[in-house]
């Protein structure tokens, strides 16, 4: 093993280069100045200067989710580190591999309440997969390489390395990307006997459904490929969580749409009535299950997951399979094929007949009438005008996010970046910057609500500085739409604090940053305005004024099972959420 003497700051840069990092999102400060000095003196790594550390972490997340490679953020001590906490928690909830490097006050000042000191490893311990405080320069490069290994192995997640300033200045021995085996080696192969049991259950199933999630996408392209092969070979219907959109193409024959609280009627009904549920890389989140004791009462359940703690956490399953989606799907396909590729075709045809009946409900139907743009219409037009493009979609959090999931179709994985688990307003804009940096020539759109977007709008500066043509498609209802919807459903239409009375002029705001602003309020102008947005070579803020009181349907009210969905136009929404459901979020 080669070893070289260098400063800790240089080690950081060298380790990033050795790990194949090409882009770092960051913001300098006193405790990371030596590292910034090293960044200044090299050309291998591009540093993207964000406007707020939260933006750096979300941008790293966007980069990671759209490429499958880990994202990297570099911030200073104290406030730099605390500003990174939301992004770390977001990445932990959605299993996104990112490496956050924080500066720290010198080791001899730790614990003295020094300027810009914070107990960063203490603060971030519950919101990282793992973190390290490096106290000796000699150990720094080893920790850097281990951090990449931990972030990307098993269930991916965020890691943080806290590096005191004296460790950055001091010299030590650099070790190359380690050949040494880390003790952290999650199990990837599933139990073959249990996989065989699942194959047998698939042969006998009358009403099967694949319930897929972000784990398929995290597992990588092979998992997606194998999943598509398995679906085609078995002709089973497939649904997905918000996180898993794109693992199976939206245009595919067996796709029955997203499931969950704002999922499609047919997907939720299929989940409720199925007799075999095959969960691949999803985690029975409360947005999916609704009322637990009424969740899919007639089914045998299989659960493929790389994280043992996800299995039997919420829903008891009959066939737990611990392993990586790609490895398990490969074995499952082989076992099922070698046993004769059997399915109960007769009952499967009846099942599809039932699903097609549910599809006739047409749960996403809406009427675009009059002079006000319906948000659903805006997204339907965005879909029509952009789906042929090499397109990546980010979202903020709220109604617009659910409408985007419902009305936009995803053909491939890694094309859809949304804050699922944590529900972080302000995620989408910086994430779109991360995506655009990784895909310079692609069309990157952030579907936003005006309230979410304002939470990290300072990143306009970043978009303009690096000429990133990110399209900020804001569905502006001058409301916190999802909060307003819940207040209508649960709080007697008392709209406490859920509207903004002092919104900026978004066109002027874009102009002030040196970007292009487009205002659209007339349905007749919408297509031309969207085309103008697409064709502009630079960042665009698209202010789409939409219907202010539109609710997002279908909806499973909290505390209700899947077969008690509220459907759009004719929904009786008064007192839709009652009893214990009112305490849920």
């Amino acid at each position: 093993m080669m070893s070289k003497q260098m400063t800790g700051a240089k080690m950081v840069v060298q380790a990033l280069i050795d790990q194949g990092v090409d882009t770092v999102f960051g913001y300098p400060g006193g405790a990371v100045l030596p590292i910034y000095d090293e960044i200044f003196q090299q050309n291998h790594i591009q540093h993207i200067l964000v406007r707020h550390e939260q933006g750096a972490v979300h941008a790293a997340e966007g980069y990671a989710r759209s490429t499958g490679k880990p994202g990297v953020a570099l911030v200073t001590s104290g406030p730099g580190a605390t500003n990174a906490v939301t992004g770390l928690t977001d990445a932990l909830m959605d299993s996104i591999p990112i490496i956050v490097l924080t500066g720290q006050v010198p080791t001899f000042m730790i614990g003295s309440d020094a300027f810009q000191e914070a107990d960063t490893v203490g603060i971030t311990r519950p919101c990282t997969k793992h973190n390290w405080l490096v106290k000796e320069t000699d150990t720094l490069s080893g920790v850097m390489h281990e951090a990449f290994h931990v972030a990307t192995s098993g269930r991916p997640g965020p890691v943080l390395i806290d590096i005191p300033k004296d460790v950055q200045f001091a010299s030590g021995t650099y070790t190359e990307k380690a050949k040494r085996k880390s003790h952290y080696q999650p199990q990837v192969k599933g139990d073959l006997d249990m996989i065989t049991e699942l194959a047998k259950a698939m042969e006998k199933a009358k009403r099967p459904v694949f319930y897929t999630g972000g784990g398929v996408i995290n597992s990588g392209p092979a998992a997606t490929q194998l999943l598509r092969e398995l679906v085609a070979a078995t002709n089973f219907p497939i649904t997905s969580t918000l996180m898993g959109l794109g693992c199976y193409p939206a245009s595919g024959d067996n796709w029955i749409g997203m499931l969950g609280m704002h999922g499609l009627y047919e997907a939720n009904m299929a989940m409720h009535d199925c007799d075999l549920m095959i969960n691949i890389g999803a985690r029975f989140d409360d947005r999916i299950t609704g009322r637990i004791d009424a969740f899919s009462p007639k089914s045998k359940k299989a659960h493929i997951d790389i994280d043992a703690s996800s299995i039997n956490k919420v829903i008891h399953v009959d066939m737990p399979i611990l392993g990586d989606c790609a490895h398990v799907l490969e074995d499952l396909l082989n076992v099922w094929k070698s046993r004769g590729r059997k399915t109960d075709k007769e009952n499967l045809a009846k099942w599809w007949g039932q699903i097609n009946e549910w599809r006739k409900v047409d749960c996403l139907a809406f009427k675009q009438e009059g002079k006000t743009i319906k948000p659903q219409h805006a997204l339907a037009r965005l879909e029509a005008l952009t789906k042929s493009h090499d397109r990546y979609i980010c979202t903020e959090v709220g109604q617009h996010q659910m409408w985007a999931a419902q009305y936009l179709g995803f053909e491939d994985p890694n094309r859809w970046m949304t804050s699922g688990g944590l529900g972080t307003m302000g995620y989408g804009f910086p994430a779109s910057i991360g995506v655009q940096l990784a895909h310079r020539d692609s069309l990157v759109i952030n579907v936003a609500g005006e309230a979410s977007w304002l939470m990290n709008m300072q990143e306009m500066g970043t978009a303009v500085q690096y000429n990133l043509p990110v399209k900020q498609f804001i569905l502006n209802n001058e409301r916190l739409g999802m909060v307003r919807q819940w207040q209508e459903l649960l709080h007697g239409e008392r709209y406490s604090q859920s509207w903004s009375e002092a919104l900026p002029d978004f066109v002027k705001l874009a102009d002030a940053f040196g970007a292009k602003g487009i205002l659209c309020s007339d349905p007749a102008d919408l297509d031309d305005a969207i085309m103008e947005m697409i064709n502009h070579d630079g960042p665009v803020v698209f202010d789409c004024l939409v219907e202010k009181h539109e609710n997002c349907f279908p909806m499973i009210p909290s505390g209700k099972p899947h077969n008690e969905m509220l459907l759009g136009e004719n929904a009786d929404t008064a007192n839709a959420i009652q009893g214990a459901g009112g305490a849920l979020v």
Partner: protein, 187 residues
């Protein structure tokens, strides 16, 4: 004693099937967690219990292998079978955790706790205290004319019983180490 792993080559013996995972009975389990002896590892384990709302009845920790940088954390916890399964799985995914053993289900085990009792008194109380200490095989490790410190080793139940007896005899202070436990037989 084998680490918590899904057993290969068995259908009905995965770790999840050791017991009905969704029973309602609250059970007491003793877990032995072998961890990398690095800064913050105890905070990770304790943070897991407080963050997810699990119980800790007792917790002991000490280095057991200096060259291998390994420590052993013995945790006595309680919960429904589902919660116990979750605790073990959550412990298992902490990066510096090497092994998680549930001594309560992995065959017979031995549990011991050490405690120090300060008992002050005169006359009959003093005589009775030392007589009972003898019955419990407690050692006197400090003595003045008005007090004793007894050292006692045993199961937590034995130490509880001794405490109950000492209380009316002038018990002033107790220090307990928490449980240390090992599975019986060759590993």
């Amino acid at each position: 004693m084998s680490p918590l792993k899904i057993k290969k080559g068995s259908t009905s013996h995965s770790a999840y099937d050791l017991r009905s995972t969704f029973g309602d009975e609250v059970e007491r389990h003793t877990l032995a967690v072998i961890v990398e002896n690095e800064p913050g590892v105890l905070a990770r384990v304790i943070g897991l219990f407080s963050g997810r709302g699990y119980n800790i009845e007792s917790l002991t920790v000490a280095e057991i292998d200096h060259t291998g940088h390994l420590s052993r954390i013995t945790i006595v916890t309680s919960g429904t079978p589902q919660v116990i399964t979750q605790i073990k799985a959550q412990l298992g995914r902490i990066v510096p955790v090497h092994e998680v053993h549930d001594l309560t289900v992995e065959g017979a085990s031995v549990e011991r706790e050490l405690a120090l009792f300060k008992v002050a008194g005169k006359g009959d109380h003093r005589i009775e205290a030392i007589r009972l200490a003898d019955i419990f095989r407690a050692n006197v490790v400090d003595s003045t004319l008005e007090s004793f410190i007894f050292e006692i080793t045993g199961t937590p139940e034995k130490i509880d019983a001794f405490a109950d007896l000492m209380r009316p005899l002038g018990l002033q202070e107790v220090a307990r180490t928490g449980v240390a436990a090992l599975s019986r037989g060759a590993s």
